[in-house]
Amino acid sequence: MAVQTTYDFDMMLSSAREAYGEELLAMAQEGEEFVFCYSDNVAESTKAGQMIKQFPDRCFNFGIAEPDEVGASAGLALSGLTVFSQVFGPFLPLRAADQIHTDIAYNDVKVRLIGTHSGVTAAGGPTHNDIADLALYRAIPNLTVCVPADAGQCKKIIRASMDYEGPMIIRIDRAGSPNVYADDNYEYEIGKAIETIAGDDVTIISTGSNIYECMMASKKLAEEGISAGVIDMHTIKPLDTDAIIKYANKTGNVVTVEDHSINGGLGGAVAETLCEAGFGGKFKRIGMPDVFSVLGSPDDIYHFYGMDRDGIYKTIKEML
């Protein structure tokens, strides 16, 4: 059964960043046992902020000290607890890389690291861009990496993570992204890609809030008789390689779209998969080129580097 997306709706904004806090708060109120670690960037007004207020005994602020937070999260998990630990975008992979690798993945603890403000969504220039994280995470064994497409899916991931063994990363963008899914009535499974739009001419594989822009590009292409499928690759690791090969072979043309460097992220993972599978069709990566980003708002940066619907449309037109 096809999933119900927002393809035919007016844009419905929601926030995955708000959703994770909302789901944690709900789970705490339901009596689920877990603790929450955070750094100095959870506003009191957010749902996560409300949880800290309502459940202060299980929430631990580590200030501006990401490696300590991630290490301590591992310690809390070793004491027998399920741990959610939030860190601001780039400072999770770039500052705490050794702790993610050694304390979390190698020690094999039940910590869910939530990186907010992913990609270029934080704004503020390259110091605040989180465009190298997927490349790092992909090379660390024993790490599951999920990127919610929208707020509803973020809640599904948070919920699913309670019964999921082993370490996890949940990569969330800043705020205010359009919903990809019209409702929650779809099956979500960590590691299983979702075909949000079926297509015959080209397959777009994307992750996170970029999926909405892919759907809008697909819509524009449909007006010209081009059938572009969109695959929600919400789990970067373990990667659903069967889905990649299946949908790539269906159309013979593949484009990847991600708010990450084109080196080493989703595009790289798909390229490796297709190359090893003997895929002979056309292939193109869309994402941040190998430069420090120009300065501007996230939407303007997306447009500048061809990562928005117009850019995706243009790339596919040139490709076919």
Binding site: G71, A72, G75, A77, L78, S79, Q99
Partner: protein, 288 residues
């Protein structure tokens, strides 16, 4: 404060000598190790495992056990040697399963999945203290009275994460947390004071909100026990300063040609060196 039983101290002196000899033989047989630091921590490790800690080698996953986290994971062979002395392994088994690829159980750096007596997989420096802070917070949250004891090296103490964790330990007033600094004063390429001085470490750690206990001779098991006996009572509900023990030790302790010599930070040991080292530790043993 518990009184120190001198007969027990003498037994532990004998134990330290045996652990030193077993360790030297182990390192000789496996051909690699970090003898300098592994010899410096013997007395404190013996004081912890054989006397102070609530820790049963036959029940190493007991939820109420005290946790000992070796942050200087390159000195794990001292712990393996203690576990074999306690009867959990034979020396032959450890040698036969040391870094033997997919049949390995023991490695130069500790792995908690392979060796269940080990609490944390460690090797990269500056990780133990942050993990211990989280562990102690978790114990308090779960209303558990076990202690979390982490041992760090003085060279390792140059890593910035230690100072982040000192801040957090003081901030959260983790009275169930104990950090032992194995201050053997030597790191891989020289004396710590020359490579990057950490002193005055007592003043610095006190300024972070910790209670500091200094052990004049950390290679005297009696002094180690006296320091451990000064740790506050077990009470998860109480918030007070965490404890920091500066354990002044000698790198390569007991072996004349290794003592205070950075060249014995890591490596193996030849047969003739082994014989000399075994004679040295016997000659240099604690006499009371």
């Amino acid at each position: 404060m518990a009184t120190i039983d001198m007969n027990r101290v003498k037994e532990l002196d004998d134990k330290c000598l045996k652990i030193r000899k077993d360790l030297l033989n182990f390192i000789y047989r496996i051909g690699m190790g970090h003898l300098g630091g592994e010899l410096s921590i013997v007395e404190m490790a013996v004081a912890l495992y054989y006397e102070y800690m609530n820790w049963d080698p036959k029940d190493v996953k007991n939820p109420d056990r005290d946790r000992f986290l070796l942050s200087k994971g390159h000195c794990s062979e001292t712990l393996y040697t203690i576990f074999q002395d306690m009867g959990n392994y034979t020396m032959d088994y450890m040698v036969e399963h040391f870094e033997t690829l997919d049949t390995a159980k023991f490695g130069m750096h500790s792995n908690r999945k392979y060796v269940p007596e080990i609490e944390i997989s460690a090797g990269s420096l500056g990780h133990g203290l942050p993990i211990a802070v989280g562990y102690a917070l978790g114990a308090r949250y779960q209303k558990k009275n076990y202690r979390v004891i982490v041992m760090v090296g003085d060279g390792e103490f140059q890593e910035g994460t230690n100072w982040e964790a000192l801040m957090a330990g003081g901030h959260y007033q983790l009275n169930n947390l104990v950090c032992i600094l194995d201050k053997n004063k030597v790191q891989m390429t020289g004396h710590t004071r020359d490579v990057m001085n950490i002193d005055p470490v007592k003043d610095k750690v006190e300024a972070f909100g910790w209670n500091v206990i200094e052990v004049e001779d950390g290679n005297d098991v009696k002094q180690c026990l006296e320091a451990l006996n000064k740790i506050p009572e077990r009470d998860y509900a109480k918030r007070s300063k965490p404890t920091f023990i500066i354990n002044n030790t000698v790198k390569g302790k007991g072996v004349d040609f290794m003592e205070d010599n950075y060249k014995w930070h890591g490596g193996g040991i030849a047969k003739e060196q082994l014989d000399e080292a075994l004679a040295d530790v016997e000659k240099n043993r604690m006499v009371r």
